[in-house]
């Protein structure tokens, strides 16, 4: 307690020098918590959106299907497995048929993926209810906001689509844009047109077949059937995990640079203090402190920068970060083209673990950088120090 009392007294007495260090160090707390909170929030949001809009609770892929290799699409269609039929009928598993097609918005040709999905499904949030009733001249389709924007599509537009059926024969028809949905998952939006599964199976000559099956949380995850490969969430979200890891590393580097600058300020202050305050150190020893008590006092002074910084950071950081957590962080429009799920706003999530770990980390770092120069005190000659002679 005595050490704390004296250290606090010294810090408060040092005035502006202390508060400048504390302010810089407090920025480290806020930035580290902010950046990690934002990444955590992004991670959660991206995964939730991907589950809601694309992958459900897991998928089964027709063997050979590779979403990153368009050449696999022509052959990657398998008959619904019999053991899945009850779940497909109840909507707990949603089949999706994928095929390459060409699309002619305003006379321009564009390669797209045509995706067939049951009109009545509600497992993922694609507004497939709009696909119902497309038995007239044109096939009803829904597209995402990005797809509509890049092709200047609006609801009610008729666009020609051309595809090859299972025998390699080209066919074409008009597609009517029945709805435009807005979502944060570009992989269900960019270059894709969603139509009714039955319609698409008829167009391709592939009745009762699909490319992938989306599983809901009621469907058991460990069903195995010939020709279908299970893809769990770990695999399906691996890209998001990798991306967050990459972003997290870059942000951690930035935060560490800021922290290093703050710790350098503490270190410099300590080094300067030990040179500048040699007379004070000698006096403290003369008044009855042991050298190691003085070392501890100086180390504690440095460490208490981190404690004061945590308090200062709390004073302005809690309202600031809470406001950001409520209102979200707007993301630039250009992130639409990045190919992964980013909402228009990311809502940071600050876990208590993150806050505690950050505080402990900075506290330990500040203590270490304070102790290193303070060790010199143990070698000071007190009779010289009393006179203020630099040693």
């Amino acid at each position: 307690m005595l050490g704390f009392k004296l250290a606090l007294r010294n810090l408060v007495g040092a005035g502006l020098r202390t508060w400048l260090n504390v302010l810089v160090l407090s920025l480290s707390y806020v930035v580290i918590i902010y950046v990690n909170g934002m990444l955590h929030g992004w991670d959660i949001q991206a995964k939730v959106d991907m589950k809601n809009w694309e992958i459900g609770e897991g998928q089964y892929w027709c063997s050979g299907y590779d979403p990153l290799d368009p050449f696999t699409l022509q052959e990657s269609h398998c008959a619904f497995p019999q053991e899945f039929m009850p779940m497909i009928q109840s909507g707990e598993v949603v089949p999706v048929l994928v095929s390459l097609a060409s699309f002619y918005p305003e006379g321009r040709i564009q390669s797209i993926q045509l995706k067939g999905i049951p009109a009545g499904q509600d497992l993922i949030r694609i507004p497939t209810a709009s696909l119902a009733g497309g038995e007239g001249e044109a096939i009803k389709a829904v597209v995402g906001r990005r797809m509509a924007k890049s092709n200047q599509l609006k609801v009610g537009d008729l666009v020609t689509a051309r595809w090859r059926d299972r025998n390699g024969t080209f066919d074409a028809t008009d597609v009517e844009i029945a709805a435009i949905f807005s979502c944060d998952v570009p992989s269900v939006d960019m270059g894709q047109i969603w139509i009714d599964l039955d319609q698409m199976q008829r167009m391709l000559g592939m009745p009762g077949e699909a490319t992938l099956l989306i599983r809901g949380d009621k469907a058991p995850p460990d069903l195995t059937t010939a020709g279908w490969v299970e893809k769990d969430l770990k695999i399906l979200l691996a890209e998001v995990d990798e991306l967050i890891k990459t972003k997290s590393f870059a942000s951690t580097v930035m935060a560490m640079i800021l922290l290093a600058l703050a710790l350098l300020a503490v270190f410099d202050t300590q080094v300067l203090s030990i040179f500048r305050r040699q007379r004070e150190i000698g006096t403290q020893i003369a008044l009855g402190m042991t050298r190691w008590q003085v070392v501890r006092l100086f180390t504690l002074e440095g460490a208490m920068h981190a404690v004061l910084a945590a308090i200062v950071a709390a004073l302005y950081g809690i309202p600031l970060l809470a406001m950001q957590a409520r209102s979200g962080i707007p993301m630039p429009q250009s992130t639409d083209t990045m190919g992964f799920a980013i909402a228009e706003k990311i809502f940071p999530v600050y876990s208590s673990g993150l806050i505690v770990v950050t505080i402990i980390f900075i506290l330990i770092a500040a203590t270490v950088v304070s102790y290193l120069p303070a060790r010199k005190i143990s070698r000071l000659n007190p009779t010289e120090a009393i006179k203020g002679k630099i040693q």
Partner: protein, 237 residues
């Protein structure tokens, strides 16, 4: 009442390394200081006064011989034991006051008591008493930068006596003070010596200080030149 021996030096030698050679600052000093004395080590610069005072204050140790201070052999004390001796029994007054710059007068005087882990109420009482002794009770909140040299030295005296030490060591306490302030603080020290029985040992070559001493131990080139009991020229008003 017979006073006990507070300081007993026997053939005290202190050598310092100087490049490849050694410099002998004290060359075999022997004398004693009794409790309640108001004595001074007097001599020119380089005579060994401060070196001797540092050894007596357990801030340094002898190269040869022995220095018994309050019954402890300084040469045999560990760092912690020496610190304990200073903390409990010795007060220091320095030429340059050596107040802790960020502390107020009150906090400076309080510092030795904090190290003694004295209770809050007892501490406050002792600090205020010490500040009243030196006539600075109204300056409790002033920091060293806000006080004159004389006031700073009076705070240093209060800090030295606040724990009622058996021994106060004063190294050139008036060197940075004008004549009026010098007499003021010396009279204060005489008063403390008389009323509290605190033993004072000065290191000085200031005639103003010498005028208050009751014993003058003259050092010259590390040797004891003379040791005389004297009638103070100045005394307590």
């Amino acid at each position: 009442m017979k006073e006990s021996i507070k300081i007993e030096l026997r053939d005290l030698v202190k050598r310092f390394p100087m490049g490849t050679k050694e410099f002998t600052a004290l060359k075999g000093l022997s004398f004693s200081v009794m409790g309640g004395e108001f004595a001074g080590l007097v001599g020119p610069s380089g005579s060994g006064k401060s070196t001797l005072l540092n050894i007596v204050g357990s801030l340094d140790s002898p190269s040869e011989g022995s220095a018994l201070v309050l019954g402890r052999d300084i040469g045999r004390l560990s760092h912690a034991e020496a610190a304990r001796l200073r903390n409990h029994h010795i007060g220091f007054i320095f030429q340059t006051y050596n107040l802790l710059p960020v502390y107020t007068a009150y906090e400076n005087v309080e510092f030795p008591l904090l190290l003694l882990r004295m209770g809050s109420a007892e501490r406050k009482k002792a600090v205020m008493e010490a500040l009243e002794w030196v006539g600075l009770a109204e300056k409790v909140k002033s920091r060293p930068a806000q006080m004159s040299g004389g006031e700073c030295q009076r705070v240093a005296i209060a800090r030295a006596i606040v724990k009622h030490p058996e021994l106060v060591l004063a190294d050139e306490p008036t060197a940075n003070l004008d004549a009026d302030n010098s007499h003021h603080i010396l009279k204060t020290m005489v008063k403390i010596n008389r009323e509290l029985g605190t033993t004072f040992l000065f290191a000085t070559h200031d005639e103003k200080v010498i005028g208050y001493l009751r014993r003058i131990i003259r050092l010259s080139d590390g040797l004891l030149h003379s040791d005389n009991l004297v009638e103070p020229i100045n005394g307590e008003d």
